[in-house]
């Protein structure tokens, strides 16, 4: 939008100058925040003036107070770090395992044929359903959450690694073969870098899944973390606290996603952003 400004557009802006040329053609820049403010205003108004139970649905002002107290008191930070640590640990394990298993599976057809039924069975199973079992086995501490996060985020990475390593155009393979490259040289110089856009698409999904996994683990049985905080607030009917933690979680998710997109663009600089969207 801002990269290519033709002279015609510039003239248009001068003619219709309404003081807000940037919003022309992008009404959502104004409408989205406006609708948000209106929604919050109506919410606040409705809770105060209609028969809405403020315990079940606290007004935005009370949620904001809870959020502020939690942020300044250090309560959220402590639990935030726990959850982030669990999710990050799970994601890293899943990323390493996904890339290694995906590579082995695509390089050795015997391994693929052998493991395929297991992988399909594991993938079709809702992994959240195993969470209680994992908590029994690995306890109420962080390790069970790390494992659940890793399990949930493993498959999107694996699938994308396999698809990425397979999708290599014939002409590039011909080039390396014409130089008598070995199987492992083809993997290292061609297949792996060629798969990076796919692998990052998998990472994008997996990093959100890993947060999900950590939260679920804390729901099932935890001693700390934002998920634990939600359950604790729920049992005491502190609904504004629940909302406040949800806001923290949403912010975490968006931040992590944007961060990964940034890394993605730096590492896979040659791929069009279209590709990223198409493969994710």
């Amino acid at each position: 939008m801002t990269t290519h400004i033709t002279s015609a557009e510039l003239i248009d802006d001068e003619v219709e100058s309404s003081g807000r040329p940037r919003l022309r053609g992008r009404p959502e820049l104004l409408l989205t925040p406006l609708s948000f403010v209106l929604l919050l205003g109506f919410w606040e108004f409705a809770v105060h003036h209609y028969a809405v139970n403020a315990i079940l649905l606290p007004p935005p002002s009370r949620i904001a107070r809870s959020l502020l107290e939690g942020l300044t008191g250090g309560l959220y930070l402590t639990h935030f770090l726990v959850t982030v640590g669990e999710a990050a640990g799970g994601f890293c394990i899943a990323a390493v395992a996904g890339v290694i298993v995906g590579s082995l599976v695509t390089q050795f057809w015997l391994l693929e044929r052998t493991l395929y039924p297991y992988l399909i069975a594991l993938q079709s199973m809702p992994k959240i359903a195993i969470a209680p079992l994992i908590v029994i086995w690995f306890g109420y501490g962080a390790s069970s959450k790390v494992i659940i996060a890793a399990m949930i985020s493993f498959f999107p990475i694996l699938v994308n690694v396999v698809v990425g390593l397979r999708s290599c155009d014939a002409s590039k393979l011909d080039l390396l073969r014409s130089l008598s490259a070995s199987k492992w040289q083809i993997f290292w110089y061609l297949r792996l870098p060629n798969a990076l856009p796919f692998i990052f698409a998998g990472f994008n999904i997996a990093i959100i899944f890993s947060i999900l996994g950590a939260i679920v683990g804390e729901f099932v049985g935890g001693e700390a973390g934002l998920g634990f905080l939600i359950v604790a607030a729920n049992t005491t009917l502190d609904v504004s606290q629940v909302f406040a933690v949800l806001i923290v979680l949403a912010t975490l998710g968006v931040t992590v996603f944007i961060g990964l997109q940034f890394v993605h663009r730096k590492v896979v600089f040659w791929a069009e952003s279209d590709d990223i969207n198409r493969y994710s």
Partner: protein, 270 residues
Amino acid sequence: MSALAPLITIGEVGKTYRTTSGGAVKALESVSLEIQPQEFVVVVGPSGCGKTTLLRILAGLALPSDGRVLLRDQAVRGPRRDVGVVFQDAVLLPWRTVLGNVMLPALILGLDRAAFRRRAGELLELVGLGGFEDKYPHELSGGMRQRASIARALLHDPSLLLMDEPFGALDAMTREAMNLELLGIWQKAKKTVFFITHSIPEAVLLADRVVVMSPRPGHIVETLPIDLPRPRGLDIFGQPRAAGYVTRIREKLGGAAPGSAALSRLEMSS
């Protein structure tokens, strides 16, 4: 052309592909050709005449169904390190710089990196890409990419250069410029070149010998020595002898329909 032992001997080579439906497609039939060291051989033929198949067999990327190919008296049964291939598209790896792409053969073949980095720099100068070492392929034009791929094919100093319609995707102006540059490179580097094209004037401009192939199943219709003085420029098409070659090749390709002579004149003047 010397009467020394040929660099390549193609003996009665045939190639039959099995289709997925169980049928068989005969791509090449009984192709025989000898190529001398440092000779520039250009193959012309209609689409689907098996030219690319023949090149893939020479590159060791495909095996013949019948006959055999000898490279210096050794049968070609797979890719060989003294062969460089230039494909229809430049086939550069988008995550490597121009220098990184040109260096690829050295990495794959396990050659001395420092020495070959110097050579890569010299080759990039030779193909007119000096100063573009650190650019990425998506920052280059189509012609520049194909130059880089030529430098890459020359890096490990192969004695045989296989070129599969390397300039087919370029516009006419760039193509002419690239043809002349290729001639310059060939004269300096003294390689044997096996070059595939659709363009008859391109064949006449470049070749020591033009090999004309028939539609599928591809076989050699005629081998025509091009007896024009070198170094050649685009001005050769002003000579009646060059025009004669163009007409002759066109006739051999089956283009003896009325108006083909006029067409060839048109193509020459462009």
